[in-house]
């Protein structure tokens, strides 16, 4: 009984320590086993399993007249369930993809409008919509483009400049 409770409390203490010293204890397991099972053996999972095993065993032992073996089995099952839940939760959070950060290649094909007239051999300025935000880019074009013209982006020259051409409808 005391062993079971001790296991549970130890697991909780481990978790609290990992929370307080973020990432220090993580290295004990994740560093060694990182890459395997994609965080399956991370500290919260192991600590959760141990703690749940202890508390589950203690509950079974205290409530039912079954023996220690049965308590260990039941606590183990409960621990596995808790570990799996923890792992799943982590996986869910890991997989949770927010909006991808825009890349330069995403610019190609977007439309926008000219805010500073593009001369024949120089940069003008265009406003593009990129990832839901308007961004001002320096723009070149093969032909001079008047201000206010709607344009397509043909290519991204650099992170801040694009090649455009007027939209022909």
């Amino acid at each position: 009984m005391t062993l079971f409770l001790g296991l549970g409390i130890a697991g909780i203490a481990l978790l609290v320590l990992s929370l307080i010293f973020d990432g220090i204890l993580e290295g004990l397991f994740g560093g060694a086993l990182g890459g395997f099972f994609d965080g399956l053996l991370s500290l919260p999972v192991i600590a959760g399993f141990l703690s749940m095993l202890g508390f589950g065993g203690a509950i079974v032992l205290g409530t039912t007249g079954l023996g220690t073996v049965a308590a260990i089995v039941a606590g183990g099952l409960a621990g596995i369930v808790a570990a799996l839940l923890t792992w799943k939760f982590s996986r869910v959070l890991m997989r949770d993809q927010t909006d991808a950060t825009p890349r330069g290649d995403d610019l190609v094909g977007t439309s926008g409008s000219v805010v500073t007239a593009i001369p024949a051999d120089g940069y003008g300025e265009v406003l593009l919509r990129l990832g839901g935000q308007t961004v001002k880019f320096a723009a070149k074009s093969s032909t001079p483009v008047e201000r206010g013209t709607e344009i397509w982006v043909e290519a991204a020259l650099s992170t801040t400049s694009v090649v455009v051409r007027p939209v022909e409808r």
Binding site: T2, F4, L5, G8, I9, G11, I12, L15, V16, S18, L19, D22, E26, G27, G30, G31, G34, G39, S42, L43, P44, A47, G48, S51, M52, F55, G56, A58, I59, G62, T63, A82, T86, F89, S90, L93, M94, D96, T98, T101, P102, R103, G104, D106, T116, P119, G122, Y123, G124, E125, G131, Q133, V135, K136, A138, L157, S158, T159, T160, S161
Partner: protein, 488 residues
């Protein structure tokens, strides 16, 4: 406290702590920051052409404004601030396209780009020194601005925004884009030139504006002045009209007043006239009365007297007529005798006249005879006759010559020769008279006298007694005219 209760509490605490432990590994980036998560291995890829294998940096995860699960100890999360940074840019003594030195103050807004490549590039350069972005960029932009100014003229920098923006974009491409920085805005705040170039640029326009303003002011002043003068003119005209009206009214009122003033005297005069006419009437009546009085007192008696006198005169006339008739009758009776007497008298007179006429005729014939004889004698003794005539005339000449002296009342002679001068004057006068005669008539009297003395052969004139008396001096024109007294 039963172990079961402790275990149950432990389970609850365990679940909470587990959730916390998992959730704290999920990091959320703010809208203006980017997370760069490092520590995971990149994807291995093989180039199909060259066959080279490479591991890309997709293990480096860039998250902007989103959440990411960071596995502790395995992965590291870095934060890059994406917010804008204001960078003051100042350039001193930049030479413009045309060589004008200018000082520019500008401001640039710079931020780390929002795309994955720019964040990576900026993270490489500025992650540990994000405060240095401003310092680095300031230097770069100062150089860039200097280069831009060198390619543009001052006027274009001020006026041609598009060209300036184009130049700025070019410079930014060259210097900032590689660092993952975006030049959001770049504006010139102030531009000054060494010397007075900018002021000189503005001076023509200022002069033109001043000129226009002056012209406008002058025009406005002229218009105002014209309006004022027009108004004054109209006022003057109105005043003139007013004065004329006033004068007219005054004249009328004066006339009326004069009439009113004259009315009194006129009335007085009229009354005087009335009085006078009345008096005249009175006088007339008086005269008539007097007339009548005279009529009654004088004329009537006078008429009566006259009538009486007339009657008396008539009576007297009648008496006289009667008397005259009687006289006439008596005269007629006496006239016969008278006529006879008269005719006798007339006869006597006629006879007397005839005798006298005969006498005169006889005398005339005798005179004619004498004259005839004298003429014959003259004819015969021409010179002697002329001389005689001259001699007869001479005293008159001398008298005429001495006439001036005879008119003298009192004479005082002052001369060395004494009084003999006077007689000389007289003789001079005579001599001059002779000269005068000879020169006017052509008769040489002196010559004649000489001839007379030389040839005394002529017969004496037939005049029986020619009184050749030379009258005394001073007697006036009493010369004999050769009249022969015939005495019976």
């Amino acid at each position: 406290m039963s172990p079961v209760v402790i275990a149950v509490i432990g389970v609850v605490v365990l679940l909470v702590v587990l959730a916390l432990a998992v959730i704290t590994r999920y990091k959320v980036a703010g809208p203006s920051e980017a997370f760069i998560i490092t520590g995971r291995r990149g994807k291995k890829s093989t180039d199909p052409v060259t066959g080279r294998t490479s591991i890309d940096n997709s293990g480096q995860k860039v998250v902007v404004g989103g959440g990411v699960f960071v596995i502790p100890f395995v992965q590291q999360k870095f934060t890059l601030d994406l917010s804008s940074r204001q960078i003051p840019v100042a350039v001193r003594g930049a030479v413009t396209l045309r060589g004008v030195k200018s000082n520019l103050d500008g401001v640039a807004i710079v931020k780390v780009g929002g795309s994955e490549e720019t964040i990576r590039a900026a993270a490489q350069r500025f992650l540990q020194q994000q405060d240095g972005i401003v310092r680095f960029t300031q230097e770069v932009l100062s150089g860039a601005l200097r280069a831009i100014v060198g390619r543009m003229s001052v006027e274009d920098i001020i006026r041609d925004r598009a060209a300036f923006a184009s130049q700025v974009a070019e410079e930014a491409e060259a210097s900032l884009s590689g660092q993952g920085l975006i030049l959001d805005a770049f504006q010139i705040q102030d531009i000054t030139t060494e010397g007075s170039y900018l002021e000189d640029l503005g001076r023509p326009e200022a002069a033109r504006a001043k000129q226009e303003a002056d012209i406008a002011e002058a025009v406005a002043r002229r218009a105002a002045e014209q309006a004022r003068l027009k108004a004054e003119e109209e006022i003057a005209i109105a005043q003139r009209t007013l004065y004329l009206k006033q004068a007219e009214i005054k004249a009328q009122t004066d006339e009326a007043a004069a009439q009113a003033n004259a009315a009194g005297p006129l009335a007085e005069a009229a009354r005087q006239q009335d009085i006078l006419s009345e008096q005249e009437k009175v006088a007339e009546r008086q005269a008539a009365l007097t007339d009548r009085e005279l009529d009654t007192k004088i004329r009537k008696p006078a008429d009566a007297a006259r009538y009486q006198a007339e009657q008396e005169a008539e009576a007297r006339r009648i008496a006289q007529v009667k008397e005259a008739e009687a006289d006439a009758e008596r005269a007629r009776l006496t006239g016969e005798g008278e006529k006879l007497q008269r005719s006798a008298l007339a006869e006597a007179v006629r006879i007397e006249g005839e005798a006298e006429a005969a006498a005169i005729a006889a005398r005339g014939t005798a005179e004619a005879e004498a004259m005839h004889k004298k003429a014959d004698a003259f004819e015969r003794y021409g010179e002697a006759a002329v001389l005689q005539m001259l001699v007869e005339v001479l005293p008159q000449v001398v008298a005429k010559a001495s006439e001036p002296l005879s008119a003298v009342d009192k004479m005082t002679v002052i001369s060395t020769d004494g009084a003999s001068q006077l007689s000389r004057t007289v003789t001079d006068n005579v001599a001059q008279g002779m000269e005068l005669l000879s020169s006017t008539t052509g008769v040489d009297i002196a010559g004649l006298l000489k001839n007379l003395r030389a040839g005394k052969s002529g017969s004496a004139p037939a005049a029986p007694a020619a009184p050749a008396e030379v009258p005394a001096q001073g007697a006036k024109g009493a010369a004999s005219d050769g009249k022969i007294e015939i005495t019976d």
